[in-house]
Symmetry: C2
Subunit: 325 residues, 2 copies
């Protein structure tokens, strides 16, 4: 299995304690989740109905200002798994460094994958992948730049898994154009990653082909019910976007006091340049706080935002002790 | 989308009433579901951990007397979707009539599919599919016959989605042999189809390839938690198997009094030969009871077993009124 955030049980077995004692900041999953609604028993007992699936898609279309063809899947990851099989394998380019599953899934399906450093370098690829905003560094590309790129690649995959907080940067209003696939995650912004819900938007033929690959019931009844309700709750989304925007600078300030240099990120996670990422991760782990390192950097450490005041206090103390060392 | 049971919302829009007023007997999903346990918030908020995934697999191995490599997916349907992509498309044979998704998924992936009437006719296929016990007629093949067939086909898929009640007929103890894939459903016997949980057992290389296609988190946290608990609950499984065995003949007796001839089934659903399936379905629908017809038969009607005493009463009355017409 590839390197990921969210491997909290590995941290527990290496550093001790119980899962409940840890604060997992190794992912960009919102730690103040959307409140679970009461759900009728049919959510669990019945096969998800076509009308429940249609209601979710309608809620997503309203939330993202689009009428584009769209498919709900068990996480945006579900789309990452299937997109490499949409057409014959060819030459893919991925704007890197980024979430490593894109390149891995393409290679596993027989694609030749090149990681490139700039948007311009993607031109000419049979399939190009841009994570926007990017994970882990938060780099963003305006819609116009991505639309221009669309003309110069065979197929363009724009992964907006961390895009909920910046709707003005989203390509969802342009979704539906042939060759453009836009991925959205539900679990990250809504803090419900265990639900397994994500979306792919695209041209009619592409979405039909992906739906055929996914089969009739890829998403659970609970995901349909919760997703439909949450995506319609614009007040919660706006309040959460505001809170994250206020709190991300607070995390940067704590990190800077510990001697780390902010390197960007989204408002769900922040990336820091540290003197030594392995030592920094271990130091936080002694306080039962789990962070994210990257195999390609000795210095980068990524932290999700804490949730409760108690979590902020513990992280503050942990970073202060780090500074004292 | 293909013809399925579980299209209850289509029935509601055609025949009226509200979803809550209907008894959906169009599927073989147990209407007395496994009781939902309390679940900690992490089930919803966290990415499913590797240890949670391992615990589910361990529970399944104990329940099915196997140490075979195994993968949990969003329903047995998840395996049906991916198996056609395990190797190059060739000539597949499906023992028919049966659950229509096998042939459809194979054809969609480029396989040439032939539907055959006997187990012997499957020999020589690059890939052969047997649903055991079969849906809708309950036809069963003993493990020895299927093991013999395994030598004569490229790959053998045995779909045991309705196999929980007849463990003595299961091939799970033989799973792990190269070329053999065994599918298991969770949602049918445990009455939790909305959870989306199923399994595929097979050889190490085949399961590794399917895991690569499925990605790291195909199953929700709730499915992992509930599945792990339910599969360890042998008392519930035994009591449910006994109850279904007692109640299936009761349903046959009611149907016979209505002039229908039992044509088999599993103890989760029964198949009947009726004078006219469309009229029989409509008559039950007037009582807000939904049943299953098949595009290939004018006479066959399938009914799942009712759950509560009130449901049994309503079905009894509906079948009596049918007799009176």
């Amino acid at each position: 299995m590839r390197d990921h955030g969210g491997n909290i049980d590995a941290a527990v077995s290496r550093h001790g304690g119980t899962l409940a004692e840890w604060i997992d900041l190794s992912t960009g999953i919102n730690r103040v989740p959307y409140p679970l609604p009461d759900m009728p028993p049919e959510v669990w007992t019945m096969l998800p109905t076509r009308s429940a699936q249609a209601a979710l898609i309608e809620a997503a279309r309203r939330a993202w200002s689009t009428r584009a063809p769209m498919l709900a899947l068990a996480g945006a990851q579900g789309a990452i798994q299937m997109i490499p099989r949409l057409g014959r394998p060819g030459r893919a380019r991925v704007l890197a460094p980024t979430y490593n599953e894109h390149a891995a899934a393409l290679r596993a399906a027989g694609w030749q994958v090149e990681e490139v450093a700039t948007l311009a370098d993607l031109a000419g690829a049979d399939l190009a992948v841009v994570v926007n905003p990017n994970n882990p560094d938060g780099r963003q590309h305006p819609p116009a730049a991505l639309q221009a790129l669309l003309e110069r690649v065979g197929r363009l995959v724009v992964d907006e898994s961390f895009g909920d907080m910046t709707p003005e940067m989203s390509l969802t209003p342009q979704a539906g154009r042939a060759g453009l696939l836009v991925l959205r995650s539900f679990g990250k912004f809504y803090g419900l990653a265990g639900l397994r819900l994500g979306f792919v938007l695209g041209g009619a033929a592409e979405i039909a082909a992906l739906a055929e690959m996914a089969g009739p019931w890829p998403v659970s009844g609970a995901a349909l019910a919760i997703g439909t309700r949450a995506l319609a709750d614009t007040a919660w989304a706006e309040a959460t976007t505001r809170r994250l925007a206020e709190e991300a600078p607070r995390l940067d300030a704590l990190a800077e006091r510990a001697g780390w240099t902010p390197r960007g990120g989204s408002t769900l996670f922040r990336l820091y340049d540290t003197p030594q990422a392995a030592a920094a991760q271990d130091a936080l782990a002694r306080h039962r706080i789990w962070s994210r390192r990257f195999p390609y950097s000795d210095r980068w450490l990524r932290l999700g935002l804490p949730g409760t005041p108690a979590e902020w206090d513990r992280l503050t103390q942990a970073l202060e002790s780090l500074h004292a060392v």
